[in-house]
């Protein structure tokens, strides 16, 4: 209360105690922060595992040869899903045929020919932007260009072309990435032997980059195989016979699943979950096989 004593000079004694308490606090905060961020990652992983678990648990029992290979019966409430499997395979194959060559070409251009400048910058911006365009907008584009203007109708062809546009950024990206990973020495050795740039690219760089390109493309294609919105506007029908030509409507797994899950008269849950299992299983199997093949090829190549 009375006049305060002259302020005590900061004694050396309390400092270590304060410091140790600060260290303790920092360590405690660190432990809490690690727990919280770790919990967030754990939550994400748990959600993914739960998704896999539910689909396998509810879908796997309904898988039988008959389910996979027969036609739907009685308004989809019985029978199999063969036409939907076939339709999705055909759509994906068509997508690969259209998007593969052009996407790989564009990737080669960016990796080997493009000089840094405004044009290249614009191309890169466009690719990044294409990857973010909503799939339903691709559907509208496909509907107006392929279905209406080019008069392909609601068809396998229109759907494949639409999905090809959607998949292009993935294929371009993985091609460029794979080309950049091929060491420069290989190119220089080839050029030094008198090969032209094109020959070098085709005979030396492309084979070395192929595993990465194929794997990246398969991942992109498997994503396209699971898309529903674009093919809804361009390719699929609720029920269609097996397609005879590229101008026919098709059935497809994702759309089949959507219809069965939302229509008023629902088929047996076994059929719905079985379809989901086939779709997720197919997409996953393609991805895993592609990744395994890539790592085998990579271990063969050594540089």
């Amino acid at each position: 209360m009375s006049a305060p004593a002259p302020a005590p000079a900061p004694a050396p004694a309390p400092a270590p105690a304060m410091r140790s308490s600060r260290i303790k606090r920092a360590r405690a905060v660190e432990a809490i922060a690690k727990t919280i961020t770790g919990a967030c990652l754990f939550l994400t992983i748990a959600a993914t595992l739960a998704i896999i678990g539910v689909i396998v648990y509810r879908g796997a029992p309904s898988i039988s040869w008959e389910f996979l290979s027969s036609m739907p019966k009685k308004q989809m409430t019985e029978g199999g899903i063969w036409p939907a499997i076939w339709g999705t395979l055909m759509l994906t194959l068509g997508t690969a045929l259209f998007a593969g060559p052009i996407g790989i070409g564009a990737g080669i251009y960016l990796a080997e020919y493009a000089k840094s400048g405004p044009v290249t910058r614009m191309i890169r911006l466009s690719i990044a932007n294409m990857a973010g365009v909503p799939s339903i907008v691709y559907g509208l584009f496909g509907l107006s260009l392929f279905v209406m203007v080019l008069k392909f109708g609601t068809s396998l062809l229109a759907g494949s072309l639409t999905l090809a546009c959607l998949t292009l950024p993935v294929i371009i990206g993985s091609t460029e990435e794979s080309f950049r990973q091929v060491p420069r020495d290989l190119r220089q050795a080839s050029l030094a032997l008198g090969a032209t740039k094109l020959r070098t690219i085709m005979r030396v760089v492309l084979p070395a980059a192929a595993p990465g390109i194929v794997t990246g493309s398969i991942l992109g294609l498997s994503r396209a195989a699971g898309e529903t919105a674009p093919i809804m506007l361009t390719a699929v029908a609720f029920f269609a016979p097996m397609p005879d030509s590229p101008f026919d409507q098709v059935m497809a797994l994702p759309y089949h699943l959507y219809i069965m899950a939302t229509q008023a008269v629902k088929p047996a849950p076994a059929i719905i979950w079985g379809t989901a299992f086939v779709l997720v299983g197919g997409v996953t199997a393609a991805g895993v096989l592609a990744a395994a093949w890539r790592s085998r090829q990579r271990s063969k190549l050594r540089w």
């Binding site: 660190e30 961020t37 967030c40 564009a106 899950a261």
Partner: protein
């Protein structure tokens, strides 16, 4: 005798190979432009098909119109119910996905080690590969009943339900891009901070996260883009009401869902058809701006750490 012919043959081969080189180079350069062409074509075709609606109804009237009665006579085309629905769904999705995604990315990049890190990364990658229609099915089977029970609402098909599932969908995008951004922060910065006596966490939030902030921001933006553009989940889970939702516990419709649901039933070439294209154009414009912003930010970050 043989020498001259040999020489011409070699010259011919060289000439041919040069010509082939030139041709193929042009073809490849043309492929390079495909992305620009497709993007421009998307915009062009949306615009051409939307012109009828813009002329007859007016872009302002559509975008600010509060009622959506496309099949009455005369029809009323107001986008607000869809726009507000998209806002609710996206808002819920981002509230869930941005904090969790960034936190998970921080743990993955800064604290996780070795085999666990690799496995966790592949799990996240797998999550991105699950088709959205399958997530919609899971939402119908599990999340919608849960929402209906928890909040005591009649139908579990609400903006909240769709938002939660869309949030799960955009998690992998946010995690992988944010993780990339954190990973690209130079090691020296971390070592410097640790050498000054900071803990791992102090290093992370004082040095690494600020250094990667633009990339993390871009991750959130791209997550936003995915959430706005998601179609099947909202079509299956949001309830598709035509009214403007005032809370996330009401049924809602989104722009993507409206297009997907009604495009199948419209007269091709009619006003309703054109109006749906106009809605697609608005959607395209929104995502275009978001993606462009994210890309510009990412590019700046890339330049910053390029050595």
């Amino acid at each position: 005798m043989t020498q001259p012919s040999d020489k011409t043959a070699r010259k011919g081969r060289l000439g041919f190979s040069r010509a082939a080189d030139a041709v193929v180079r042009r073809v490849i350069a043309a492929c390079g432009l495909i992305a620009v062409v497709v993007l421009a074509a998307i915009f062009g075709f949306l615009l051409v098909n939307a012109i009828k609606a813009i002329r007859e109804v007016g872009l302002g009237t559509m975008m600010a119109g509060t009622d959506w009665y496309p099949t009455t006579e005369p029809p009323v085309f107001g986008f607000l119910p869809s726009e507000v629905g998209s806002l609710w769904v996206t808002g819920v999705a981002l509230l869930l996905a941005v904090p969790i995604g960034i936190a998970a990315a921080v743990f993955l990049s800064e604290f996780a080690k070795g085999r666990f890190k690799e496995i966790a990364k592949s799990v996240v990658e797998f999550m991105a590969a699950v088709p959205s229609v399958v997530l919609g099915l899971l939402g119908l089977a599990y999340i919608a009943p849960l929402i209906s029970k928890t909040f005591n609402v009649d139908s579990g098909l609400t903006a909240l339900t769709a938002g939660l599932v869309v949030g799960v969908m955009s998690l992998p995008t946010i995690i992988s891009i944010a993780e990339d951004a954190l990973f690209s922060v130079p090691k020296e910065l971390r070592q410097g901070a640790l050498a000054l006596g900071n803990t791992d966490w102090q290093t992370t939030y004082k040095v690494v996260v600020p250094a990667a902030s633009s990339g993390i921001f871009a991750a959130a933006m791209l997550g936003l883009g995915r959430a706005i553009g998601e179609t099947m989940v909202v079509l299956m889970l949001a309830g598709n009401s035509g009214l403007i939702p005032t809370s996330p516990l009401q049924a809602a419709r989104t722009m993507t869902g409206t297009i997907a649901q009604e495009m199948g039933e419209v007269v091709r070439g009619g006003t309703h058809y054109s109006v749906l294209f106009a809605m697609g154009l608005v959607l395209f414009a929104i995502t275009f701006v978001i993606n462009l912003a994210a890309d510009v930010v990412l590019e700046r970050q890339r330049k910053k750490w390029r050595r």
